[in-house]
Amino acid sequence: MKKKIWVNIAFQVGALVLALLSTTLLLLAAGAPPFQAYAAILKGAFGSAGSLETLLITWSPLLLTTAGVLITFSAGLWNIGVEGQMAMGAIFTTWMLRLLQETSLPPALTIVLGILAGIVGGALWAGLAGALKTFGGVNEIFGGLGLNFVSTALTIYLVFGPWKRPGVGSMSGTEPFDRSLWLPTLPDTELSLWSLTLSLLALVIIIVLLRGTHFGLRLKAVGKNPKSAFLMGVPTWQYSMLAFLLCGALVGLAGAIQVTGVYHRLLPNISSGYGFLGLLVSMLVNYQAVWVAPVAFFFAAVNVGSIQLQLMYKLDSSFSGVMQSLLVLLVLLGEGARQRFLRKH
């Protein structure tokens, strides 16, 4: 038992070292001095109040998408449709805000209703992916991909069509909402305590749900072995659907936050890859919800910090994505190698 723990640690550390080594090689190949580059990333992420602020702003939607994806992962589902679900959340929020902005409703209530609409929108879209799988036999990966395309098309239609800025037809998005409909931020910053609190709260709820409740355990059983779970009395398809709905709700909330707290309008690509990034993070933490917060924080930091690489060494802006994917790939490889090793010994 003790030996096994050491083996685990050795493999995990090995994977991280390997990831660091290959990133270093990549940096060298790109002509950037690696150590200065790492320092630049750190400084870029934590070096100033402004960058910390950006870091926290990007952290909260990532927390939400990761928490959402963890639920579907626990149920053994690859919810690739998470990007579209986030976009759908954003669309519903925008729709609600547009509907209510002309009324005499107090702005605070409008925002709350807008966010609730986003949650519903995300859940509906995820529920559709779930229904396609459960009742239509469409694998959730293909269903999700298809629904992502549909939601993108819908966003583009709305941005260029019914919700366009007067006289304008541009990808730049819809008319920004009045400042009264922005999520309140800390003075002199763009950081909304609301979005941060909501995301952290959602994550805590998910941690508790997955670790401490019958629901979480049954979900996990469905994920590990649906046949056994069914024989043990778990209504499997209902649990799969619930997992989709919950994930969609969280991801829809992330979309709602992007609309009310970050962009203040609807953009095509409003999900900005947060969904896929969430998938990466949840793979990296290997279903262990407690690690989501720090790992997501790390990813957000790499995202924000690596902007410096472009500034200082003219590295391509996609570099942070490459780094993150490399890390996940190697950690997953390390996990595979560990399991092989343990099976042999």
Partner: protein
Amino acid sequence: MCKHLTRFTFLAVAAVLVLSACGGGGGSQLAPLGENLTFGMLLVGPANDHGWSQAHYEAGLYVEQNIPGATMIYLENVYSGSPAYTGTTTSQLAEQLVAQGAQLVIFNSDDMKDEATKFAQDHPDIPVIMASGDQVWQDGEAYIPMANMVNIMGRMEYGKMMAGCAAALTSQTGKIGYLGPLINDETRRLAASAYLGAKYCWTLAGNDPATLEFKVTWIGFWFNIPGFTSDPTQVADDFFNNGYDVVISGIDTTEAITEAKRLHDAGQAVWAIPYDFKGACDQAPDICLGVPYFNWGPAYLATIQAAVDGAFATDFQWLGPDWADINSPDTSAVGFVAGPALSAEDVVSLDAFIAELAGGLNLWTGPINLQDGTVYLGDGVVATDQEVWYLPQLLEGMEGQSVTE
């Protein structure tokens, strides 16, 4: 263990919040930036796009050459929802430039307009240049007083008229395509200017103006974003395959000439006119009739020099060509280089047209009707700057969407 971790995370977050809350500073008047200036630039596309962004990037290099000790830092591909910067807004990226030492920030795209305003308002002590914007135009429709912002735009209407003229002189079918980016005031007036230039030269060459076909197709953004915009290569291809033998590009990138070259190499008689960047013809000289381009260098140099000297003042600059030499790198904000594919005879006609413009010819003179037939400028009425800038529709005689449906 996990409980502790969660609690720690909360505490850390709280601490960070307090810190960042204290971080924002109160503003002061614009002080001289002094020696060893660092200025930042946000580019909507890549710095080597042979178009809009490269023109800005090279202007930055021009400033570096002309102000001793000046350094440019820049970020590419900055636009709403750019996958390069997951979830970060443009104003946050501007903050990053500042964190890296930028004392002045240039926003190079209309897409950044709201964010530039937000950034300028949040940082009244930092001089901001917003290219193509009209926020600080006192006589504009969207005036927002900001002491630390300067708007700069070239009078590309002239460049587009020249492009339109070259296209009309060359076209054998009398069908000209205009590859439009997104739809807004700027893009409408530029497409309209190209049409006015084309119509003028078409008529001058002895043709009936009614036989000129001029069609605008918009892709939805300044450049191609696969999956989100229409594919400009496809749009150009559709033009060429439907009898439009000249395509004028209004987008930031060079798909029109690339596609024209492909068809030219396959034996089709087609031409194209790129946009934005002086060297854009180099990619496909065989079919390039010329390029109307921006020369941001002189204006940027003057404005940044003023900031260095402590003389930066809010201003709306809408700068025309230097008619003495429209291609002077140090004085002309807008220029036109005739391309190798423009015949010698047409070069003479085009030069004559340019000379007329230099002599005071204004094609924005009535009668001009809007696309829906309403009178925009009565007979002999000359358009005001506002009427040109805020053109509400395409013009009568042009085909294509004025606004999105």
